[in-house]
Each structure stands twice: as C-alpha cells, then as structure tokens.
C-alpha cells in the first residue's frame, strides 16, 4: 500500500470542486489512458481581470490523481491566470504534504491540465513536452525517459555520471542494474559499448610532508574550501555550515534542501575531498549530529 499523507487521503475521500464548472470558459484535458490517469480541468475565468472565479475537475485515476486534482483546484481559485501559471507540480505535492515518488506524476498532470486550460482560454494551442517512462530511481523519482535523454544529450557513459546529472541511482543504489541497462541501450545507438567502470579508487591524497598550520589557519582554509562548494549547494537550495574542527574530525551541518537529503552522504564525501585538497592533510568530514555530546555548544 502507498504511504499517502493524511492530506492526500482527506482530499481523495472528500474531494473539493469535483465535477465540471457551469459556464466554464477554459477547459484543459491531459493524461494518459494507458497509464490510467487522465484529468479534465474546467475553469470559469473573469474576462476583465483574468481571475479564476471557479475551478472544477473530472478525473479518471488513482487516489493521488484525484487528490492532486482536488488540491490544484483549491490552490488556483481566486488567482489570476498569470499567478496560477506560476504554480508548480511541487506546489501541488507540498499542498498535499508530499506524494510517494511513484505518484509525483499525478502532480505533474495537475500542472499540465492548468497550462492546457489557460492555453484553451487564450485560444492558443498547448503542446505537451510530456513523455514519461518507467520509474527507475525510487529515491529521487527519476524515470527511464529522463535518464535516456540525459545520457544522449550529455554523452554520459557511467552510472556515476547518470547519478550526477539526474540524481538517479544516487540514493539506495538498487536501480544500478536498470541504469546500466539503459546506458547499454543508449550507448549502443551511438555505436558504443557500455563498460562497467571498476570502482574508482578512493582519492585520498595524503601529502608526503604536511605543512604545519595553526588551528585558525586550518579553519580559514576549510572555510575557503567550503566557499568553493557553496554555489553547487545553492543550486539545489541547500547550504553547509562549519560547526567545529577537532583534530582530524571536521563537523559540518547541512542546511536547507541538503538537510535530510538522501544524497547527503555523497555530498559529504565531495566536501571531504575538497577540504583534504585544500589542507594537504587527511581529515574526516562528518555531520554535526555525530559530534561527541560533550563537545556540543552548551552540552
């Protein structure tokens, strides 16, 4: 059984705005019958202000498809069309306190129905750029089509590269066999053969003669190293904070989107490598939660 949030269940069992809106002047039909999810969104838009006066949905689909449709109508009512178009699928998922990775496509369908309805209102033709493949990476909800396209467009050739570009396979690693199969297939199209890379040797560059630094000098170096990494973290809406340095142990705190991210371990490894390079000595980078209690501020 899916782990549906209370909010999803509530919107499924008591959907808001079910049915077609009377005097609708904007209708968007999206979905896929083969996948078993399809949605018709109807809106009543004030021609003067382009405000959405009323919204209704008709959905052929599962619990989360119905809940996402219900949430969408609640979110957009009262908004202008331009405001409504800023609603992302993540907004819909957030409104429902999250969706299982297999079900994120339901929120995508909601956003697309909105785009289709707005296009219909404005007399434009809405074209979906939608192609959905089988879900490969369950940790980060990445499907096969996205992986294939990314491999093709970036000429990727290893599982690690696929994880870096798409996040697929960056979590529990159970999908690596499937990722290898996709790599084999896509690379074969270009006449290449996929070679499973031997596990990369852990790059721990321990210099022969470490330069002796004071603690303050070391901390400054570490902060500089972290600054070089920050732009990457900011891109993913995350950040890192240096908490303490205790001999070879460097304690950091991942913040923003990085906190609790399943990629955190991978990120920490990267940070560690970067700091080692900057300091010219081996250090171990660890999350602040692993700091001995006595060492914590006020502890």
């Amino acid at each position: 059984m899916w782990e549906y949030s209370e909010k999803v269940q509530e919107h499924f069992f008591s959907p808001r705005n079910a049915g077609a809106v009377d005097e609708a002047n904007a209708v968007g039909d999206v979905g896929s019958l083969s996948c078993g999810d399809a949605l018709r969104l109807s809106l009543k838009v004030d021609p003067e202000t382009e405000t959405i006066l009323d919204a209704g949905f008709q959905t052929f689909g599962c619990g989360s498809a119905i809940a996402s449709s219900s949430a969408l109508t609640e979110i957009i009512k009262g908004k202008t069309l331009d405001e409504a178009l800023k609603v992302t699928n993540q907004d819909i998922a957030d409104y429902l306190d999250g969706l299982p990775p297999e079900k994120m496509h339901c929120s995508v369908m909601g956003r697309e129905a909105l785009q289709a309805a707005v296009a219909n209102y404005r007399g434009e033709e809405w074209k979906d750029d939608h192609e959905e493949g089988a879900l490969v990476c369950k940790c980060f909800a990445v499907d096969s089509v996205l992986i294939e396209d990314t491999i093709r467009n970036n000429k990727l050739s290893t599982v690690e590269e696929v994880a870096n570009y798409t996040k697929a396979g960056g979590g529990c690693s159970a999908c690596h066999e499937a990722v290898e199969e996709i790599l084999t297939k896509v690379m074969a199209e270009a006449g290449q053969t996929f070679q499973p890379a031997p596990p990369a040797p852990v790059a721990v560059a321990v210099p022969t003669a470490p330069i002796k630094m004071t603690n303050v000098q070391r901390i400054r170096k570490i902060e500089e190293a972290l600054d070089t990494i920050r732009p990457n973290l900011h891109r993913d809406h995350g950040d890192v904070e240096l908490i303490d340095v205790d001999g070879k142990n460097v304690y950091v705190k991942m913040t923003g989107a990085c906190a609790g991210c399943q990629m955190a371990a991978v990120t920490l490894e990267g940070i560690q490598e970067c700091i080692i390079n900057a300091l010219g000595e081996f250090v171990r980078v660890m999350p602040a939660e692993l700091m001995p209690i006595a060492q914590r501020a006020g502890g």
């Binding site: 039909d29 019958l33 083969s34 689909g61 599962c62």
Partner: protein, 408 residues
C-alpha cells in the same frame, strides 16, 4: 469460521496471500521452541525434527498425488521453485536454447524469461484470446528438440482461468520436452494427481494455501535431469542446499493435509460464494463484466472490470469499509501499464484499469459476500461521478472521443 473478526474486516484477497490456519500455527510453534534441532544432526534433538520433515513431505506428496515423497523438494517460495525449474532445464540441456511460456504468466516466470532473452535464449510467449485461452495448435507448432522447457501456469492469479496443463504436458512429453507448471494458485483449490500426469516439475507456495510465507515446494519427477540452483549442502538430497526452514515446512505439511480435507468444500461452498458475489455485483453495477473464462477457472476467483474508473481508487474506498481486494490497474503496482493479463486479453484501457479481483477462501462466509455486494455499487457510482467518461446517468456518448486528453 470467518475472517471478519470486527477489526480485521473482510478478506477477499486470498490469491495474494492467505490467513495462516490456526491449526497450522499450532503445528509449527514447537519448532520455534523445544523442537529447535537441526534435522541433519545425529542426536535426538535433530532426529525428531527430521521425522517431522519427513511427515510434512508425505503430506505434500499426498496433496499433489506424487508417486514418491522424494519428489518433493522444499524451497523458500514459489518464485524460487520457478527459477530452479527453468534454470535447471537450461543447465542440464546446454544445447537447447528455447523456452515456451505464455504472455500471462506470473512475473516469477516472465521476468526470468525476459532476463534469459538478454542472455541469448529464445523465448516463445504463447498468446491468449479475449477469454484468456491458449491456442494449442500454435503450442504444438513450437515444440521441437530446440526447446529446453515449457513453463505454463496451471491457474492464472488474476482471473483464475485454467490452462490445459495436463494435455500440454502430454504434448511436450511426446516430443521429449520437459514440462514445468507454476501451480501456485491451483494447489489446494483443485484436485491434483501428478503420478497420472506427464508434468515433470511443479511449483507451489505455502502462503497461498494457509501456510506461512517463506516456504515453497518444487515437485521434481523422479529421473528428471536436474541441476540445483543452490549448492552447498546435502539437504533435500543435494537438490536444494541450506538448512531447512523446519517450522515452515512442518506448517506447510499441515496446511496440505487440511487442503486435502477441504477440497470438496473449495469446489462446492467456496464456488457458491464466489458465484453469488459475482452475480450480485454484476446485477447491481451497470457497465461491469467478468474477465477471463468463467466456464473454466478456479472456484474462488472473481475478476470484475468496472468501466470508466480506476482500480486503486476502488481499493482505497473498499479498504475504508474494511474490505480487501486487489486490482489490475497500473497504479496499484507502480508500473506504467495496467495488468499484462488484462492487456493480453485485449481489455480496453478504460476497463483494464478498473479491474478488481475478489479471491475467496474457505474462511469466508455468505454474510461477508452479501456485505460486499452491498458495498460495491455506491463506490463505483461515487468514482464514476468524478470520471470525465461518465455523464449524468451513464457513460458519455462515444467516451473515447468525448474525452481524448493530450498524450493519451
């Protein structure tokens, strides 16, 4: 007896798994406590457990109608039995590179076959008609000395439709081809007499017949060429290494004995319950139909397609009323397509996603059946109200044209 013990609700999902019979629980419990010995040991601790396994083996033998108890090999599950059978046939006959199976097999067989195709084997997938039936002429034409094994399920897990495995095994034997059947759904629901058949290998799973999960059997006809999947010990006469799951094996023996005793009940009482359920629902719900072959199927299974709505939503609403069933919709499995069985029978998408399987057991009652007949029509009506394919009182005209979404 009933599964409706107030909090537990009505369990109509017995093709997924079954309740462990209380007598079976009782039989297995001593093997977690005082009967902890290893059956391989020389001392008394082990010896008694060894005898219990021997008895279990004979109980399974009796249910299957096997000629010898040594033809029973205990495994960990139905999937292991399937894999062992198919991979053994390939290893024992390295010159034969073809497999015959069907498009509606359980993933335990299908996924393995798809994997073997990548390794260079040629797999023939027999197709089915709109009632899920095979064309035996096509089957005959594929049998050759290139075929290492035929693997065909006895009863389909989704529709309950039976395949003529006895006849198909004869046809395979006539040309010297090994025959395996995944009988996970059939064992315990149909009388089986393997000694009078030409079936070489058969898989069964304990948890489908009121034994616990984690135990299965591969029936292996004497003199069938065999290569083990697991090597590493003399257990099961070297055919399945690994210390025996003694408690579960004893439980499976007891469950087989009870299945024998209830075979008539399954064929009469359970069948009557199923027929009443199906007739009651079909009469009350417009635009619904039975899938599979109603004239030739398991006595416990009813698979009903509710058009224009989706199965997961049906299950969630049933679950709210304490009723457990399952569905062939894409969403319930996390896949992108509805059930491969429904698609193979040519059921349209608007119906395939709404297929709902009710599978009964001897622990169900007529009172439960009547409650489900009451519960289903309002649920279907509630979801159809939300469906873009449904108008005021019925499907919109030309539904597939009236609502044809982008990227359909």
């Amino acid at each position: 007896m009933t599964t409706d013990t107030g909090t537990q609700g009505i369990y109509f999902d017995n093709n997924a798994t079954t309740m462990v019979a209380p007598e079976v629980v009782e039989a297995m419990l001593p093997f977690f406590t005082e009967q902890f010995g290893n059956p391989s040991s020389m001392h008394l601790f082990g010896n008694k457990v060894g005898f219990a396994i021997k008895q279990a083996r004979q109980q399974v033998q009796a249910l299957l109608g096997a000629e010898h108890d040594s033809e029973i090999v205990f495994t960990s599950c139905g999937t292991e039995s399937d894999s062992t059978a198919i991979l053994s046939a390939l290893k024992a006959q390295p010159d034969r590179k073809e497999i015959i199976t069907t498009v509606v097999e359980h993933p335990a067989v299908l996924a393995l076959c798809e994997h073997l195709e990548k390794e260079g084997y040629k797999v023939h997938y027999l197709e089915v008609d709109d009632k899920g039936r095979l064309d035996l002429d096509v089957y005959r034409s594929l049998l050759s000395n290139q075929v290492a094994i035929v693997s065909v399920m006895w009863a389909n897990n989704e529709t309950g439709t039976l395949f003529p495995v006895l006849e198909m095994a004869e046809m395979a034997k006539a040309v010297g081809v090994l025959f395996h059947t995944d009988a996970v759904q059939a064992v315990g629901k149909l009388p089986i007499d393997l000694k009078r058949s030409s079936i070489d290998m058969l898989s069964l799973s304990g948890h489908k017949l009121h034994a616990p999960k984690g135990v299965g059997v591969l029936y292996l006809r004497r003199n069938t060429r065999f290569r083990p999947l697991l090597r590493g010990g003399h257990q099961e006469r070297g055919r399945r290494a690994g210390t025996e799951n003694t408690a579960a094996i004893v439980a499976l023996g007891k469950a087989c004995e009870m299945a024998m005793e209830h075979m008539d009940h399954e064929q009469t009482v359970v069948r009557t319950l199923r027929d009443r359920l199906e007739e009651g629902i079909i009469a009350a719900v417009p635009h619904s139909f039975v899938t599979g072959d109603p004239s030739n199927r398991l006595p416990n299974t009813a698979n009903i397609a509710f058009e224009y709505i989706e199965g997961e939503a049906i299950l969630l609403l049933l679950n709210k009323l304490g009723i457990a069933a399952s569905s062939g919709s894409a969403c319930t499995s996390g896949s992108l397509e509805p059930s491969h069985v429904m698609r193979a029978m040519g059921i349209p998408y608007t119906a395939a996603h709404g297929t709902t399987r009710f599978s009964l057991s001897r622990y169900n009652t007529m009172a439960e059946v009547e409650r489900v007949i009451e519960a289903v029509p309002p649920i279907v009506a509630q979801l159809r109200k939300l469906s873009p394919y449904w108008g005021e009182n019925g499907p919109v005209e030309e539904p597939e044209k009236a609502f044809a979404p982008a990227y359909a």
